[in-house]
Amino acid sequence: MDMSARPLVEVRDLQVNFVSREANVAAVNGVSFDLMPSEVLCIIGESGSGKSVTMRSILRLHPPRRTVIRGHIRVGDYDILSLSERAMNEVRGAVVSMVFQEPMTALDPVYRIGDQIAETVMRHEGCSHADAMARALELMELVKVPSPERRLRAFPHELSGGLRQRAMMAVALSCRPTLLLADEPTTALDATVQIQVLIMLRKLQRDFGMGVIFVTHDLGVAAQIADKVAVMYAGRIIEYGSVADVLMRPAHPYTLGLLSSTVHGQSRETEIEAIPGSPPDLRHLPPGCSFAPRCKFAIPACSASFPPLVAVGPNHAASCLRVDVVRQDSMALAS
């Protein structure tokens, strides 16, 4: 990849707070990353780590009155956080589009699949309904829905979960976006369907040259689809790097913990190592490393201030004070 090219997406020091009368939830606390064109970035993290919030910020889908977003987001030539709502609507669906987790609820139950795809096409390209339906048919073939003509006339509840997710992708791809956001698109699907959808997504991504930000908590899915991986914890990216580096040679104890807590062909007798404790309360984050209370490598300095990202290799960084110790441990895991 040409590393001198300008990144498609630039996120700098993104902070998202949800403010209500009762509490101020710091969901994202200074996230920065780049995404090159036609690259797939996987954001991994457990529930509440801020991965979906980060992604929805790129489309500004948060309720404006209750959300405070700071930082800088650039997608292509658009400075997302300074656009007017009207200009934002031009970006949504045309430049950046999104696939949701639940294909069950992400399609409007009262409209036929074809009309839902055509709606987006007509909105952004201003073409006739007939043209939009022709495009919808093309898209349905593209996402490999069997007997697409019939499915265009079907209602969402008449399709299976896998077909619905494909239809959802057809909606998302309808205007050839340069950036696709996928919010755990395979989590609600069967394991077999999951693989099919992932393979299809990867292929479409290559064909279209799209940048993809893919949110998941499934390391196996990340290994399948990602070029780059960002691991999030308590609203921060704590490790970032190429998929091979992060998943094979993790440098942050949290990533290491995630990997050792997954099932991957160990013998049955081996205890699966779980990460002790639970994620921090986002309303009252400790000043230091948010993972320190659960970390077996933690030293007193960890709780003093948040550790900066340190490079541990080319294009691989982790925000941990004890990177060297952790890496020795992860080498042991790998061998």
């Binding site: 889908l61 949701f100 409007d108 709606e119 093309e138 003509e149 909606v171 309808s174």
Partner: protein, 304 residues
């Protein structure tokens, strides 16, 4: 149009692999509702009954055996099947059947018109309140709560009493009474729909707020609102009859079921069965509307 250049070979499906359209057509939402309704014989029966009642009110001048306002001193309070007066006569010797047929016009108008207006007004306020949330919601819904604080009959009597009698005032009264509950149903439905993923999905694909409101929220909120509105038709008929009974509705000699009951009650010991006839008309009509709305609720239950 076909600028979706497809480089992958397998992407354009083999035309032979395409299935022929199946024999059973995919039905629309209303098609599905009709399919479920088709085998619900009880609902169909009462639907037919409603159509019959409406038709007999509309065509009253054609089918009524007598002039509803023609009094006859000689034939006051006659029993059922007295000569041609099948349902007997009232205290002024007017034919009960003819008066019931004509009275159906006012009663059905009172049942349907306020509900339609209240559905539009209440539904609109409810959808706006539910979608906007926050202060707008508080202002609209607390405003509606003011009306909720009174029992509906009391509220109707109070409004009717201050506006005075007459058909227009009665329609206004009923509309005001029926708006808050419809507003609340619309608000609840909307705030549920607002948090659904497809609203976010529509926004993520660039839909404006108005477009989301009309194309996605309103369309989904409409079936619970319609079902609830249909249950209110019978309530509205009953309420209107009650107002007329109390003298707060249409003025005599206009035939009206409630008003007929009110004037006939003095003759209750003379001709009990004849006096009950307008009540029977009210009973049958409101039961029919109630059961049909029950059936509609089941048939319109959207499977998402």
């Amino acid at each position: 149009m076909s600028d979706l250049s497809i480089t992958g070979a397998g992407a354009t499906a083999d035309p032979n692999a395409r299935e022929a359209p199946p024999a059973s057509q995919v039905r629309g939402y209303w098609g599905n509702v009709w399919q479920r309704l088709r085998y619900d014989y009880a609902t169909l029966f009462f639907l037919a009954l409603i159509i019959l009642i409406v038709a007999s009110a509309v065509f009253a001048p054609l089918i009524a055996p007598f002039d509803p306002n023609k009094a006859s001193m000689a034939h006051r309070l006659k029993p059922l099947f007295f000569r041609d007066n099948i349902l007997g006569t009232d205290e002024q010797g007017r034919d009960i059947l003819s008066r019931i047929l004509y009275g159906g016009r006012t009663s059905l108008l009172m049942g349907i018109a306020p509900v339609v207006v209240a559905t539009i007004v209440g539904g609109l306020f409810g959808v706006v309140a539910g979608y906007a949330g926050g202060k707008v919601n508080t202002i609209i819904m607390r405003g509606m709560d003011v009306f909720f604080a009174f029992p509906s009959v009391l509220l109707a009597v109070a409004i009717s009493g201050s506006l005075g009698g007459g058909m227009i005032n009665q329609l206004i009264t009923l509309t005001v009474v029926l708006t808050p509950p419809l507003c609340r149903v619309a608000e609840t439905a909307t705030s549920q729909i607002r948090s659904m993923d497809f609203v976010d999905a529509a926004r993520a694909s660039g839909a404006s707020t108005t477009s989301i409101l009309f194309n996605h929220v309103l369309v989904n909120a409409i079936s619970p609102v319609l079902v609830y509105a249909s249950t209110l038709v019978s309530a509205s008929i009953l309420l209107a009859s009650g107002l007329s009974f109390l003298g707060l509705g249409v003025s005599p000699p206009t035939p009206d079921w409630g008003l007929m009951l009110s004037t006939l009650r003095q003759a209750l010991y003379v001709q009990p069965i004849v006096c009950a006839m307008p009540g029977v008309a009210i009973l049958i009509t409101s039961i029919a509307f109630n059961l049909v709305s029950d059936g509609l609720r089941q048939a319109m239950d959207v499977k998402a």
